[in-house]
């Protein structure tokens, strides 16, 4: 438990440092860090978007997500974009993509190649196709999972369930 707490504190520390910097350092995370983030969602609604630079429908929905993130900047909603790009493509593909598209949102690279070991931990409804999005309420009492693309209005409908 204390390890989890430590991990979480560590996560918060480096995440807050990410937010301050203008360039885009992308942190590589393991599934445990993502799950503890989900479990410690206390004061914000958490929107987790699973994507990759090689995934065409992911790239297509990204602008809608970023617009929503900006529109909800004053609301207790946090957006995290979990990239499933291979770790070896971090500097060659992911970072150039973020730079080119001027994406300053929080992007993490999820380095967990044994997909079967963790997909069900995000949602048992997830077959593994991306994009996939999960919206988690403030106290992690409920969540909405969606496999496939979402446009702005569809995303808004889901988030509205959790913020008045």
């Amino acid at each position: 438990m204390s390890i989890l707490r430590f991990l979480f504190a560590f996560l918060i520390l480096f995440l807050s440092s990410t937010e301050k910097s203008s360039s885009q350092p992308v942190h590589i995370v393991k599934i445990g860090e993502v799950l503890s983030r989900i479990n410690h969602t206390s004061d914000t609604v958490l929107v987790l978007n699973f994507w990759a630079t090689w995934c065409v429908p992911c790239i297509e929905e990204l602008p809608d997500f970023i617009k929503m993130e900006k529109d909800l900047a004053n609301q207790p909603v946090k957006f995290v974009y979990l990239s499933l790009d291979f770790k070896k493509n971090l500097t060659g593909k992911l970072q150039p993509f973020l730079k080119k598209n001027e994406i300053t949102s929080e992007v993490l690279l999820l380095d967990e190649p044994d997909y079967n070991s963790w997909i069900d931990k995000i949602s048992v409804d997830w077959q593994g196709a991306i994009p996939a999005t999960v919206v988690i309420d403030r106290k992690n009492k409920s969540q909405t999972f969606h496999e496939g693309s979402l446009n702005y209005n569809e995303l808004k409908t889901i988030i509205q369930k959790y913020i008045p």
């Binding site: 090689w54 065409v56 190649p113 044994d114 997909y115 079967n116 196709a129 994009p131 496999e147």
Partner: protein, 206 residues
């Protein structure tokens, strides 16, 4: 405000409809189900069905495509599976179900090119109507169904990933498909009969 609730209602409808569509595809086959036959065009222009494999003990059916980097990452391993198991009675049959309008790379013409470039030793079939992917419940590429011939029926004995490391074949620790086929060859039940994996979603026609 009124306008927004109409939009909200509309998007709810869209989500409800799309999840209904997803559910119908999710339905698909489960391990233990009898798989239906198909008649699809191979890259040589000939129609192919499961009945064209009278000598086979089963078939390693792989829903894949040209454009998806995860499919590309597995191409050599899919060729390897065919070469290893065709003589043992389990040939690979690859099926591309993607909407070629969304992904021109996945058109029939480009399937022919890809198969030639990579010298695919197995048949590569075009599921143009997407009916077979929907029937089977394939949602991503690559998505494998190991079929075992039991009393003239093709029974689904494994659904899922090829192995546990897409990026690096050298770091694979669990060869799911190989293990399943080996167990079938030994007459044993398949120990891991269902796995999930990240993949490109199969693009459905609008």
């Amino acid at each position: 405000m009124k306008k927004f609730s109409i939009y909200a209602l509309l998007s709810l409808l869209v989500i409800a409809t799309s999840s209904f569509i997803l559910n119908t595809t999710d339905a698909g086959y489960k391990v233990g189900d009898v798989a239906g036959d198909f008649k699809l065009t191979n890259i040589d222009g000939k129609k192919v069905s499961l009945n064209d494999y009278p000598e086979a003990k089963g078939v390693i059916l792989v829903f894949t495509c040209n454009h998806c980097p995860f499919s590309v990452a597995y191409e050599d391993r899919i060729i390897g599976l065919h070469n290893k198991y065709v003589s043992k009675g389990y040939p690979v049959v690859a099926i591309n179900s993607n909407d070629a309008k969304a992904y021109p790379d996945d058109s029939f013409e480009n399937m022919v090119v890809r198969a030639k470039d990579k010298a695919f030793p197995f048949r590569y079939l075009h599921d143009e109507s997407q009916e077979i992917a929907r029937n089977y419940g394939a949602t991503r590429t690559p998505h494998v169904y190991v079929l075992n011939k039991e009393k003239e029926s093709w029974v689904v004995r494994y659904i899922g990933a090829i192995d546990d490391n897409t990026d690096s074949p050298a770091e694979v620790t669990k060869k799911y498909v190989e293990t399943a086929v080996n167990e079938l060859l030994e007459g044993k039940p398949v120990s891991t009969s269902f796995t999930k994996a990240i993949g490109c979603s199969i693009k459905w026609k609008k």
